[in-house]
């Protein structure tokens, strides 16, 4: 366990020492919310403002980008070579993808939580109060799920570039299907039917329900779904990752 924790620690520090990623972690959701909030201010009322809506959806959209962070943590050239030594060391090779997932989750959980705080203070975004813990848990579960997706893409495609391209498509697909930018109803009935299969649709509906209706129905089921799928992805990473991918 000591050895594994050392790898997780190192991987987390590697993410923390990159100022661009820190900016991306905090600045990206804040700027998206600020811009979309201003542009659509007139379309929303005073009880639920455009900032309230986009604050939640854009923070959720940003958490999908955990996949990009984990892909970079896994296959970035600067990190790839030192990671080669981990392959040679007496550590289970499964530790390598698992450590990247955990490190990415720690990093993104810290900075997206900070981003949420900044958005609440500066833009007045309502993240709920009665069920704040549950809402945070849902954000973090999505964050963890997408951290797993990023590493899985690396295990599948063996290249940071290809993995990032695929992740970009997957992220956009989930965002559009789940109505993070605009209501999915405007895309037609078929798309609405398809969007119901997206776990992100379930999450966003549940978060708004927790904030405004203080109704927690389906919370455990949604959490179970996200964590279950994450576990499945981790198992796939373990099966697909070959040490020689790093050579």
């Amino acid at each position: 366990m000591y050895r594994f924790l050392r790898i997780v620690q190192r991987d987390t520090i590697n993410l923390l020492i990159n100022p661009m990623w820190i900016f991306f972690g905090i600045g990206f959701p804040f700027l998206l919310t600020a811009v979309l909030g201003v542009l659509t201010e007139g379309l929303y009322g005073s009880s639920i403002t455009s900032y309230d809506y986009y604050g939640v959806t854009m923070l959720l959209y940003s958490t999908l980008y955990a996949a990009t962070f984990s892909a970079n943590a896994f296959l970035e050239e600067r990190i790839k070579q030192p990671n080669l030594r981990i392959i040679y060391s007496p550590i289970n090779k499964f530790s390598i993808p698992l450590s990247k997932i955990i490190a990415t989750f720690i990093f993104t959980a810290i900075f997206y939580t900070l981003a949420g705080g900044v958005m609440h203070i500066l833009l007045g975004v309502n993240f709920g109060s009665a069920h704040l813990g549950k809402i945070m848990a849902l954000f973090l579960a999505v964050d963890f799920f997408f951290s797993c997706i990023g590493v899985l893409m690396c295990c599948l495609f063996k290249s940071e570039g290809v993995a990032n391209q695929i992740i970009s498509i997957v992220t956009t697909l989930f965002a559009v299907l789940s109505g993070l930018f605009f209501p999915v109803a405007s895309l037609g009935k078929q798309m609405v039917a398809i969007s119901k299969f997206s776990p992100i649709t379930k999450v966003i509906d549940l978060i708004f329900s927790l904030i405004y209706d203080t109704a927690a129905t389906g919370f455990l089921a949604t959490m179970g779904l996200l964590l279950g799928m994450s576990m499945l992805l981790i198992l796939c990473c373990g099966a697909l990752f070959k040490g020689e991918d790093y050579l």
Binding site: R3, I7, R10, P82, R85, P90, I91, G243
Partner: protein
């Protein structure tokens, strides 16, 4: 010396291309075994298979008589690996790099501190322990690359071309460190295509080409394989004379006269220099200089494969 590692009939292919063909050899405890061969000889593939980073199609690898595959964790605890590419965290100091990689072998507390000191001292970087790797020269980075592999004092150290692209001073430092580590009981498997390094440090040599073992032995025994040596005699004047008399000399294979130089190719082990000189005296030729060109591993490789080590 008993066998530490036994490689038996190793076979490996990438897609349809066979890159290692039934390779068998052993690494004896306490030796410096050099794998010598040109780029593409499958040296790196061989060592990556031995250290468990790469799979193989056929054959068997044993560590102290037991299958490495079945005891991979125990084997890796005793293994130090110096990869060909620099595997360092550039933003960490030399000490922090070694600390992290040594901790992967379970070192902590006093043992970790002692391991770091040992590694830095072995490669001559003690004075630079607090400096970041990205401030190091190429040679210093190469030395740090080695230090990161030895802090846990492995029983077997595998080094994949550790001196590629460095200055002679750093190279000598590395070769000295390797000799010291061997003296202290470490077994070393060293791959290179620099025959000068092999001549300097090897206990035993395996010459590889296209995934096969071409020859194996000490440098002396391998040089003897070539079977020929050249004697270059510089004459005082440039004259033309008959070379027929030379062909009566025992062991002589070929004689060429090029300007003021007489180049005689003769079989190794046959002492015939006095007879060659006698013939020259009979032909009234004055000798200015005599040079016996002994074989090196480059010529051995050329003889065995028909191509140069750097091809």
């Amino acid at each position: 010396m008993h066998s530490l590692i036994e490689v038996k009939k190793l076979g490996k292919s990438y897609q349809a291309k066979q890159v290692i063909h039934g390779l068998s050899f052993e690494i004896k405890q306490g030796e410096i075994l050099c794998l010598l061969g040109p780029n593409g000889a499958a040296k790196s593939t061989t060592i990556n298979i031995i250290c468990g980073a790469l799979g193989y199609d056929s054959g068997e690898i044993l560590y102290q008589g037991k299958s490495i595959e079945k005891n991979i964790k125990a084997f890796k605890e005793k293994l130090g690996m110096v990869p060909q590419d620099l595997a360092l965290y550039e933003d960490l100091t030399a000490e922090q790099n070694i600390r992290f990689f040594a901790s992967l072998y379970g070192l902590k507390g006093a043992a970790l501190a002692a391991g770091i000191d040992f590694a830095l001292h072995s490669v001559g970087l003690t004075a630079h322990r607090k400096e970041k790797a990205n401030t190091f020269s190429g040679g210093m980075k190469r030395r740090l690359n080695i230090a990161c592999a030895i802090a846990h004092q492995p029983e077997l150290l595998i080094m994949d071309e550790p001196t590629v692209g460095i200055d002679p001073q750093s190279r000598n430092h590395i070769l000295d460190a390797i000799r010291k580590m061997q003296k202290n009981g470490m077994t070393i498997l060293y791959t290179t295509h620099y025959m000068e390094e092999v001549e300097e440090i090897s206990t035993r040599i395996i010459i590889m080409d296209h995934g096969k073992m071409i020859a194996e032995g000490t440098k002396e025994s391998l040089k003897a394989l070539s079977g020929e040596k050249n004697i270059v005699i510089e004459l005082a004047t440039s004259t033309v004379f008959s070379l027929d008399d030379f062909y009566h000399i025992e062991g002589l294979k070929e004689v060429k006269l090029e300007a003021q130089q007489l180049i005689v190719t003769t079989i190794q082990g046959v002492e015939n220099l006095d007879k060659i000189i006698s013939v020259l005296i009979q032909l009234n030729q004055k000798i200015q200089n005599v040079e016996i060109q002994s074989n090196n591993l480059e010529t051995v490789f050329l003889d065995l494969t028909g191509r140069s080590l750097r091809d």
